[in-house]
């Protein structure tokens, strides 16, 4: 009875939504929109391999300088998880011509508006936004840490940086509610040896094991102009800026080509993997994850569309209709090696976890069975339109735009790749979305992490069975 009822609801919804489609805005012609997007004005590659992306925008007298290195948590050497992230912190500790502590104070004195860095699985990104008159300072600082970092490294700096990163681990993971859930899920989703098996933030014991020699070798392998993209967006003259870039960066020698992270097929699994975690939290939570193809491979973009449709349908059934969960969120994170599709539900107090997993699985399979009705032309276009608009809205602000170029550079090798991504979205049809959903989500058993409230457990959670 239940199955027929739900199928009926889906089919009805599909008819209703189809009927509402008249007069709604259509997906815009991407070429017209792409022409209006502030895409790179000039690109170049220096003789040492440094890729340069410039985009002119004179609405305010500021520039965003962003350096993206193609080295992230996936590049951590064996036994040294958290290394790429640890290294991110080193890059602020001075270099040959910048004393320890001076990196920040020089920027502050120059009127910096934003400065920071972040590390993902695939890349490490550094940025500053500052008055355009101070562009040379940013180029000086970025070139000095790219070319002369090792001159300033010492054991005292390593000890201090390691302490700060371990405090970050305590804050983000060890003392954070549900802090272990994602780590546990990714560890089970990707097998040992897979670049995404370990956490970007690492483990305290492996951070402790890092030596000064390790740091030097890591720098020499990955931190080179031929593994980086320099993006500058804002109040600049492309020719004059390129000349200044040559001035500061030309002398930095290229490194032997670093190892290339391969796009790996999603790891196979015969049956669902169930992990139970006890945590000192108020509400039970459920996380279901699937490994998906690498960025840009066939089917990959369709999963971005499927994520919003799955969220809408599963939320409607499990939270609204059955009242088993407070909320349901579905996310999709693309990556160079592979992607991750995650369904995260916060359950009602006392909910039967087995029943919730069963109902979510049922709703997702039902969605697959009736996919061509639910993921119809209109629904898919709507979801793609949201993704499409999201990319365009992400171009707002110099730093965000520079970041977007940097991230696309790391993911696809093309900093201006957003235009191609928009065309990909527009070219997708419902069959693409449905087949990607069936192939990578429905046919593959997920990793399921169940977090149970337990006042005697650590707040981050402790694995009690798997």
């Amino acid at each position: 009875v239940r199955r027929g009822l739900v199928a009926g609801v889906f089919a009805l919804l599909s008819l209703v939504t189809s009927g509402c489609g008249k007069g709604k805005p259509a997906t815009p012609a991407s070429d017209a929109l792409v022409r209006k997007l502030p895409l790179p004005t000039k690109t170049a590659t220096l003789s040492n391999g440094l890729r340069v992306v410039l985009q002119e925008d004179h609405h305010s007298p500021t520039v965003a300088v962003h350096v993206a290195y193609r080295v992230g948590g996936a590049c951590d050497p064996p036994g040294r998880s958290g290394f790429a992230h640890l290294f991110e912190h080193f890059m602020f500790e001075g270099s040959k011509h910048v004393k320890r502590g001076e990196f920040d104070t020089l920027l502050v004195r120059a009127g910096v508006l934003k400065k920071n860095a972040f590390t993902t699985r695939d890349g490490t990104y550094y940025y500053e936004v500052l008055p355009s008159a101070q562009l040379d300072l940013a180029l000086f600082l970025e070139s000095d840490r790219m070319g002369f970092l090792l001159d300033a490294l010492d054991q005292g700096t390593l000890n201090n940086v390691r302490d700060i990163v371990k405090n970050e681990y305590r804050w983000r993971v060890e003392n954070a509610p549900y802090g272990n859930a994602t780590l546990v899920a990714d560890g089970a989703l990707y097998p040992d040896g897979h670049p995404y098996h370990r956490s970007v933030i690492g483990t305290p014991s492996e951070l402790d094991a890092a030596s000064l020699e390790d740091i030097k070798r890591f720098f020499l392998r990955w931190y080179a102009p031929n593994n980086a993209t320099l993006v500058i967006v804002g109040d600049l003259d492309p020719e004059a800026t390129l000349a200044r870039i040559h001035h500061w960066f030309d002398a930095i020698p290229r490194a032997p080509e670093p190892p290339v992270l391969p796009a790996l097929p999603p790891p196979s699994r015969d049956k669902p993997k169930r992990i139970v975690v006890d945590a000192n939290v108020s509400l039970p939570r459920l996380m279901m994850t699937w490994a998906t193809p690498a960025y840009g491979l066939p089917g990959e973009a369709g999963l971005a569309s499927a994520s919003s449709l799955v969220e809408w349908r599963v939320y409607g059934y499990v939270a609204k209709k059955l009242e088993l969960a407070h909320n349901v969120d579905v996310s999709y994170v693309p990556g160079r090696v592979g992607g991750t599709f995650t369904l995260d539900a916060t359950l009602r107090e006392g909910a039967d976890v087995e029943k919730v997993v069963d109902e979510i699985t049922f709703a997702m399979e039902e969605l697959s069975q009736y996919a061509r009705y639910v993921m119809d032309e209109k629904s898919v276009k709507e979801s793609l339109y949201g993704l499409y608009a999201g990319e365009v809205l992400d171009f707002d602000g110099l730093e965000r735009r520079a970041r977007s170029f940097g991230v696309f550079g790391v993911l696809s090798g093309d900093a201006g790749g957003v235009a191609e991504r928009l065309r990909t979205y527009e070219g997708l049809d419902p069959d693409d979305v449905v087949s990607a959903y069936r192939e990578y989500i429905i046919r593959v058993p997920p990793v399921v992490v169940v977090v149970r409230p337990n006042g005697g457990a650590p707040v981050a959670g402790k694995v009690v069975s798997q």
Binding site: D76, A133, N160, G193, H197, L220, H247, K320, V392
Partner: protein
């Protein structure tokens, strides 16, 4: 579910099982050394002399026929428009928890369209939409591609002027509110805020809870939310701010029919809640039990309202305190990842505090360092070179106008506090004039070390002995705030 999620730091657990060959080779393999040749021009950092004076963008000001004020900045760097519908009435004007609930429930249905239809309409537009609420204001934020501005304004006008909150919708939001509240209670920073507000405000005070109180969530009904929105969004209290890829005439042509029906009696501004009486200084330190490897410390006092004459000195002082403690606790001692400064300088007096999550073994040391820094800054002049850095950091107003959506948000801030359009130019001037003595006076007046209390969230067995040892005063303790029996 947006693609931007790729920026999230992805984490995976450390494996222990039999490994297959790793993709990334070990570091002990051959790595070629390389050296960048040095050059004389690198010897001195190239800082351009003199910072450019801050020049805000040109703001156009108009009124709709019903008196609604419109502030707009035209710019065409990105093909989008950002809008804010801003009321200068916020959470202070309702019972505890109502505005926070409204914030999650608004912009979802109208008297003409159901929640499903409205969501479909937002999806069709591909727009980002979000209500915001603070103690002093309620706002709708929307960002959309400029070619869809007309349809977006029409929808926004309908949801602003003819809101509806159905029982089913309210119950769904109630579920999400329960999760939001649980997340706050589970979190160390949430526990710190709960303890601070419990201590500073009497039981009946509006600010007794920093977040929506759990029992308030259960009481909210559709008519309460509708009444809140109608009370907050009247023509006398609303300003519409916008920035982006359109023209003022096009914007007004879209706004007039959409918001022209906004009316409402003029009701004078309601006074903010009265400041609470001074909380007793004894005990000086309050510890809240929460197991873990970190202690979250907050040094707390009651901040001023924004009506003070030396707001520029206060902001500069806050920057100095943050810089001093970041340098000491993070850079020099390596016992924390970060230091936060929390202040809500608005119409009412609210807690102001500096906080940090520190390695629990160093709790006493960190608490002592925080108090020492406050004592020193209450008495001594800050060196001119540090003061110059503080002034530069505080006066980074170009950042406020960097993005289209940031510009609309900055204009909204001006509207909420009835500030002049050249406010940031004046403020930059005022900050440039802050002296060392101004800073010392600001510390003594607004960061009074003799009124500071310390709150520490951490494992009592570990933190209490350390706190007693450093001798900052009597240490009291209490249990963790809990929502449910675990």
């Amino acid at each position: 579910v947006r693609f931007v999620a790729l920026l999230a730091i992805a984490m995976a657990a450390c494996g222990r099982s039999a490994a297959r060959a790793p993709v990334v080779p070990p570091l002990d393999g051959p790595v070629a050394a390389r050296t960048t040749p040095d050059a004389e021009f690198r010897a001195t950092p190239p800082i351009a002399g003199g910072l450019k004076a801050f020049t805000p963008p040109k703001v156009e000001e108009r009124k709709l026929k019903n008196g609604v004020r419109v502030l707009f900045v035209e710019r065409h760097d990105v093909p989008i428009v950002a809008l804010r519908v801003v009321s200068d009435r916020g959470a202070d004007q309702a019972d505890p928890g109502i505005a926070e609930f409204w914030e999650r429930a608004a912009l979802r249905s109208s008297s003409e369209h159901s929640m499903h239809e409205v969501l479909e309409a937002w999806n069709d537009l591909g727009a980002y939409f979000r209500p915001h609420v603070t103690r002093d204001s309620s706002q709708f934020e929307v960002r959309v591609m400029s070619r869809l501005l007309g349809a977006t304004v029409k929808l926004l006008g309908e949801l602003t002027t003819r809101p509806a909150f159905g029982p089913k919708q309210v119950n769904l939001i109630r579920e999400r509110m329960r999760v939001a509240v649980a997340d706050k209670w589970d979190d160390a920073e949430g526990q710190l805020a709960l303890a601070i507000h419990e201590h500073l405000f009497p039981e009946t005070h509006l600010y007794r809870s920093p977040f929506a109180p759990p029992d308030s969530i259960e009481k909210v009904q559709p008519e309460i939310l509708e009444a809140y929105q109608k009370f907050a969004f009247t023509s006398e209290h609303v300003t519409i701010t916008a920035a982006g890829d359109t023209k003022i005439d096009e914007l007004l042509a879209a706004l007039e029919p959409a918001f022209g029906s906004l009316a409402g009696p003029k009701i004078g501004p309601q006074a903010p809640p009265a400041a609470p009486p001074d909380a007793p200084l004894d005990p000086r330190v309050i510890a809240i039990h929460r197991e873990g490897t970190q202690a979250t410390i907050g040094a707390v006092w009651l901040g001023p309202t924004r009506a003070i004459p030396d707001l520029a000195a206060l902001s500069t002082a806050a920057q100095e305190l943050h810089a001093v403690l970041s340098t000491r606790l993070r850079v020099q001692l390596g016992i924390t990842y970060d230091v936060d400064f929390t202040s809500q300088v608005g119409r009412a007096r609210l807690p102001m505090y500096v906080s940090s999550a520190v390695d629990i073994e160093h709790t006493g040391e960190a608490a002592s360092e925080i108090m020492k820094a406050l004592e020193r800054l209450n008495k001594e002049l800050v060196e001119e070179k540090f003061l110059a850095e503080d002034r530069a950091a505080v006066a980074d107003f170009a950042e406020l106008f960097d993005s289209v959506h940031g510009t609309a948000a900055t204009l909204a801030h001006l509207a909420v506090y009835a500030l002049p359009l050249d406010y940031y130019t004046r403020r930059a001037d005022a900050i440039a004039k802050v002296t060392g003595e101004d800073l010392r006076k600001a510390f003594a007046t607004y960061f009074p070390v003799d009124r500071v209390k310390l709150f520490v969230v951490g494992d009592l067995g570990k933190v209490v002995p350390q706190l007693e040892k450093v001798g900052l005063g009597k240490v009291a303790h209490r249990k963790m705030f809990t929502l449910t029996k675990k």
